[in-house]
């Protein structure tokens, strides 16, 4: 990837941060932010050994998917990476789907999506600001695992991603990265995060089953309009572990099975 492309991607990432009104260091909730900027966000626990995510255009709508069986920091990165595919690759060359088994830099698209995600999650100037204001400009050869945990918490990223990004920004040398990786090995990122009252949830998977609220609105509305039978409603709700009884606002009349509709409409 040449410098011009890098700069172009950084600019797009900045635009997305602005769209999502991220003013702090990291995204408070990247899933909500992506929804607010018009993406349909789907999260599903499909297993630790499965693919990480995909980006898709369906009937003109843009969908990003992340596998919620992975630890939260990894899932957050997945969404950032898929947003990168959405912004940089989908529909440009007639592509409507990119599925990611892993985020290794196999091809140009992956390199670019990773670069986008890194720029989105940890922009250069925000990292500089954090080091200066929060780490009191402490020299990076004095950094320890707790400092990385603080960076993790501020930017909502994984320990490893923080190291990779800090190295690519020229903040850490390879030997420092190795030292800090060993710190994590001894203490584990969870303990480091707990020690600083950081967000230890980043190290756990959420197993979330989420589809956009409008998906359920379509289904519930179709049922309320008596366009679909209860079993179709149930089938759709079961994708997100809901029962018909869990849906508030269905009146008694609306819950009547379809066979009796004719009596009600006055045949």
């Amino acid at each position: 990837m040449n410098k011009n492309r890098q700069l172009a991607i950084e600019k797009i990432a900045d635009t997305v941060r602005a769209e999502c009104k991220v003013t702090g260091y990291g995204f408070q909730n990247i899933f909500e932010a992506a929804e607010k900027s018009g993406y349909q966000v789907i999260r599903y626990p499909i297993g630790k050994d499965e693919f990480l995510g995909f980006a898709m255009i369906k009937e003109g709508e843009r969908i990003v998917f992340s596998n919620s069986s992975l630890i939260l920091s990894r899932e957050i990165f997945s969404i950032a990476h898929e947003l990168g595919h959405q912004k940089l690759h989908l529909s440009e060359q007639g592509l409507t789907l990119i599925k990611d088994d892993d985020f290794t830099d196999r091809d140009e698209y992956e390199v670019e999506a990773n670069y986008f995600a890194a720029s989105l999650m940890m922009p250069r100037e925000k990292v500089d600001k954090f080091i200066r204001q929060e780490l009191n400009d402490k020299s990076s050869d004095k950094w320890n695992g707790l400092d990385i945990a603080r960076i993790q918490t501020a930017f909502n990223v994984s320990y490893d991603m923080a190291l990779i990004r800090l190295k690519s920004l020229g903040k850490l040398s390879e030997s420092q990265v190795q030292y800090l990786k060993n710190e994590k090995g001894e203490h584990t990122a969870t303990k480091l995060l707990k020690a600083i009252n950081g967000n230890a949830d980043l190290c756990r998977s959420t197993e979330a089953k989420k589809v956009p609220a409008e998906y359920l609105e379509w289904v519930i509305s179709n049922y309320n309009e008596k366009l679909i039978p209860r079993k179709s409603l149930q089938a759709a709700l079961s994708y997100v572990d809901l029962d018909v009884e869990d849906i508030g606002g269905l009146s008694e009349e609306k819950a009547v099975e379809d066979d009796s509709i004719f009596a009600k409409i006055g045949t």
Partner: protein, 116 residues
């Protein structure tokens, strides 16, 4: 979606041995207008679906079952333990298709409501 619903209505009508004229007459509309419904050339309102269902003596969901069938998918995490990579994507793809089938039905009803 309208063409799917139209085709469904046509086959239900034919299975009842009714002509387009007969149905149109009972709907108080011209045969030409009714024919356009079967061809999917006009948006079918929910009210029309109900009326046609009454005339054809079927339940409305027999007309809209093109969508309903979509929704009857196997749940994830089957217990056979034999799922391979790819299955999960297929599952998600089907889930998305299901919701989009509901979306089409939702939109097809709303559009007409908005026009009236």
């Amino acid at each position: 979606m309208n063409s799917v619903l139209g085709a469904r209505i046509r086959s239900l009508r034919e299975s009842k041995g009714l002509t387009q004229e007969q149905v149109a007459e009972r709907m108080n509309c011209t045969r030409q207008k009714y024919a356009r419904i079967e061809k999917g050339l006009v948006d079918i309102s929910y009210a029309s679906i109900i009326t046609i269902a009454q005339i054809l003596e079927v339940s409305p969901d027999q007309i809209t079952s093109a969508v309903n069938n979509e929704a009857q998918k196997e749940p994830m995490f089957r217990d056979n333990g034999a799922s391979e990579k790819g299955d999960k994507f297929q599952f998600l793809d089907e889930m998305i298709d299901t919701f989009y089938a509901h979306r089409k039905l939702y939109k097809s009803v709303r559009q007409v409501d908005g026009d009236e």
